[in-house]
């Protein structure tokens, strides 16, 4: 699912399918089982919970991911990151703290070179809901 760049959402956004945001969201985003991609035009001012988060645009807010956070080279994050795997590309902007939780006593990390493209949005029947 895609949120286009002309779309502005103020409120809580949750769902059970992968989501790409090119627009603007202010509030809270929950996709706990799915991948959230903030596209190059995306501007987010929200707390984010997802399975994986790929940042190519601007995020102001904390990001918690159960699998990974990737900040790509034009991505910008002002907030705290918490995930087992975190990759920050050269040229990315980041200010905040980084917490990589231990998993089975070992921390999993990935270097920027190992960043893989975000998973393609799954054609899931479930919908994304917005609570205002």
């Amino acid at each position: 699912m895609n949120i286009g760049k002309s779309v502005i959402i103020k409120g809580d956004l949750s769902g059970s399918e992968d989501l790409t945001i090119e627009g603007q969201v202010e509030g809270k985003i929950e996709l706990r089982q799915n991948v959230l991609t903030i596209g190059p035009n995306g501007k987010i001012k929200a707390t984010i919970f997802a399975k994986a988060v790929v940042v190519q645009g601007d995020v102001q807010g904390d990001i918690t991911a159960s699998e990974r956070v990737d900040i790509r080279d034009n991505g910008s994050v002002d907030g705290d990151l918490s995930a087992p795997r975190i990759a920050i590309a050269d040229g990315a902007h980041f200010r905040g703290s980084i917490d990589m939780q231990r998993q089975g006593g070992k921390v999993e990390t990935s270097k920027p070179a190992e960043v893989k493209p975000a998973a393609a949005p799954a054609p899931a029947p479930a919908a994304v809901s917005v609570a205002r």
């Binding site: 990759a87 050269d90 040229g91 200010r95 980084i98």
Partner: protein
């Protein structure tokens, strides 16, 4: 709602904002480190240590320290503060600005990576920053510093890219020129009076790497 439209764009944060392609094209000298293994060794005995990195964010360093230490890392790019003030011709604001940026509870950090930030500061800013960092360190905490020794105009910032536990690649990005704040060993030790010198190494380049430790 109109505020939403003001988020746009990357922050003008000096060296961090340099395009990756620009800096990657420049040769990256290597620098071995005898201090980095000691820092890792000290912090590896701390459960979930808190590390503060005063340089621009480097993804591979985050991965390295996360893997080695399973730590929480605070990234506070002081070079960006330096560059912002340098462009405005307002370096005299740095002492206050740096301390304000690092507003955290006293004794809340296990390790601090200063890199070569002191080379870019004048004496008052250096002293103010050093005093504040000493407050932030927990007892037993460690502080890493890299101090240039030659009088020179600095025209670039250096990112210390940790290759492995024994050294760095030094990646340069343009800076507003400034005269290096050369600190001799006596000055450095006096600035961090209250900490003990765990180890200090003079490199072939005449730069000095020092690891300070706060007494327990």
């Amino acid at each position: 709602m109109t505020g939403l439209f003001k988020w746009g764009g990357r922050k003008d944060e000096g060296p961090s904002a340099a395009p990756a392609a620009t800096v990657a094209a420049v040769a990256e000298p290597l620098s071995t480190s005898k201090i980095l293994p000691k820092l890792i060794s000290v912090l590896s005995h701390v459960e979930s240590p808190i590390l503060m990195d005063l340089g621009p964010v480097v993804g591979s360093n985050i991965a390295f320290f996360g893997e080695q230490l399973a730590c929480k890392i605070f990234v506070e790019d002081l070079f960006a503060e330096v560059e912002t003030r340098a462009r405005r011709g307002a370096r005299e604001e740095l002492a206050e600005a740096l301390v304000a940026r690092l507003a955290r509870p006293p004794a809340s950090v296990d390790g601090i990576l200063c890199w070569d930030v002191f080379d870019y500061l004048d004496r008052p800013a250096s002293q103010a920053l050093a005093a504040h960092l000493m407050k932030l360190l927990k007892p037993g905490g460690v502080l890493y510093g890299f101090f240039g020794a030659t009088q020179a105009e600095l025209k670039h910032y250096t990112r210390f890219i940790v290759d492995d536990i024994h050294g760095f690649r030094l990646r340069q990005s343009p800076a507003t020129p400034t005269k290096r704040n050369v600190l001799v060993t006596r000055d450095i030790n006096r600035m961090f009076e209250g900490l003990t010198v765990a180890e200090s190494v003079l490199l072939k380049s005449n730069a000095r790497e020092t690891l300070f430790r706060k007494p327990s």
